[in-house]
């Protein structure tokens, strides 16, 4: 019997050790696993590397992890949205490390990790600071940068619906980074708005097949 359901956000994250690399899905405030992030904050493991497109705004989501000084390093494409006060403060203090990656390269590096590839040549960033220290090559007259897979110990993702096998379906643009992160991490934990019965999801609309997901938790309304 395959049953990936976990009773609570807290229980789904008990094995996150200090120093872990944690991917967090979402873009802006869309498709963000807010309840899992809050549970991660309460769990309290520090020295984290957070891999997520943005770095949180106000006191919400990743911003709360930053405020509580649980994060050593942020890997992202766009850390400063309007209101990213905690990221900006820590950055100015020199209290946080930033690895900035062009957004497409960021997504593709995670996909490469999930797809078992050793790296890829992308034209993005060629001839810019982003290519510094990296292998570059001309292919058919165009410049490319070699980029490597990006994996993590955990991925926290958010879906609209999920079943006990870990199949996930997303709402509108809430999909964004969630599918590639689910592929790329050692352990993928999914926060779902609706836990549905096996067979309730349209098999043609499952955007994350259950094989990529290890744990499924229904939202608790904790935010």
């Amino acid at each position: 019997m395959i049953d990936k359901r976990i009773a609570s956000m807290r229980e789904a994250l008990t094995d996150v050790a200090p120093g872990s690399a944690v991917m967090i899905g979402g873009f802006g405030s869309s498709g963000i696993p807010f309840e899992l992030i809050e549970a991660l904050r309460q769990h309290g493991a520090g020295d984290l590397t957070i891999i997520s497109n943005n770095a949180g705004v106000a006191e919400e989501g990743i911003a709360a992890l930053l405020r509580d000084r649980l994060v050593r390093k942020v890997v992202c494409s766009y850390p400063r949205s309007q209101g990213s006060i905690w990221f900006e403060r820590l950055f100015e203090e020199g209290a946080i490390e930033l690895e900035l990656i062009p957004q497409g390269t960021f997504a593709e590096r995670m996909r490469a990790a999930g797809a078992g590839l050793g790296g890829f040549f992308t034209p993005t960033g060629y001839g810019t600071k982003m290519a510094e220290g990296k292998e570059t090559r001309e292919i058919d007259g165009r410049g490319y940068v070699l980029e490597h897979p990006l994996s993590a110990d955990f991925a926290l993702v958010r879906a609209h619906k999920g079943d006990r096998w870990g199949n996930l379906a997303y709402n509108t643009a809430g999909r964004n980074f969630n599918p590639v992160m689910a592929m790329a991490a050692e352990v993928t934990v999914a926060e779902v708005e609706h836990l549905v019965e096996l067979g309730d999801l349209n098999p043609e609309s499952v955007a994350t097949p259950g094989v990529f997901v290890n744990r499924v938790v229904a939202q608790e309304g904790m935010n």
């Binding site: 494409s77 900006e88 497409g104 509108t172 643009a173 999909r175």
Partner: protein, 214 residues
């Protein structure tokens, strides 16, 4: 000198978006372009977070919290639009499937280099988002920006002093003073906004411009 307002700049650029185009509008002034596309043209807007067919702002109270654009503003989906994940969204961008990307700019060089993601202030965190992927991937990159900085310094230069977003990627520059095309021969002024002389625009520019055809 006559300076166009941001709305006028966006409207001017919108005239050059052909019917049937797939277009990505960057954060800031570029998103205003959507408001000015001439009637009768079908234009499909792409948003990097996984939307093709971005529609107008929703009526208050009807927002879908997951349905936002790259600037994190609530949007809608037009009929015929669809959703996909970020990897596929950037495959579209990098793979040459979008016709036009309209980007903001800090600086553009004579060779069409674009700088729009970082300044030389080390205390202020850089943020690149999808700009680098768009700049290498869209079939045409149009930059929409003021001709000069707030304190009057030129933004169109021999070389960019800020870190590059992409080298040799800009096709056209739409400013509040003029429309300029990046050509092999140099920066060709194709249009001077009403009341501006070539000499005035040249004086506000940090590199040599080619005058418009007589």
């Amino acid at each position: 000198m006559q300076r166009l307002t941001p709305e006028q700049m966006a409207e001017r650029l919108a005239q050059d978006i052909p019917d049937g185009s797939y277009v990505n509008l960057g954060i800031g002034m570029p998103v205003m372009v959507a408001n000015f596309v001439p009637e009768g043209r079908d234009v499909i807007y792409h948003s990097e977070n996984g939307i093709l067919g971005v529609g107008p702002t929703p009526a208050p109270g009807t927002e879908d919290p997951d349905l936002i654009n790259a600037a994190k503003q609530y949007v809608t989906l037009i009929k015929g639009g669809c959703f996909f994940d970020t990897a596929e969204s950037f495959a579209m961008m990098r793979g040459g499937h979008l016709d036009i990307a309209v980007l903001g700019g800090f600086q553009v060089s004579a060779a069409g280099d674009l700088a729009n993601w970082a300044t030389d202030n080390e205390k202020y965190p850089p943020a690149v988002g999808g700009a680098m992927d768009l700049s290498v991937g869209a079939k045409a990159v149009y930059v929409l920006m003021r001709h000069t900085t707030k304190d009057g310094q030129p933004k169109i230069l021999d070389e960019c002093s800020y870190p590059l977003t992409g080298a040799g990627v800009v096709r056209r520059i739409y400013t509040d003073l003029a429309v300029i095309e990046v050509t092999d021969a140099g920066l060709q002024v194709v249009e001077l906004h009403d009341g501006n002389s070539f000499e005035d625009v040249q004086a506000a520019t940090g590199t040599r411009l080619l005058p418009p055809a007589a």
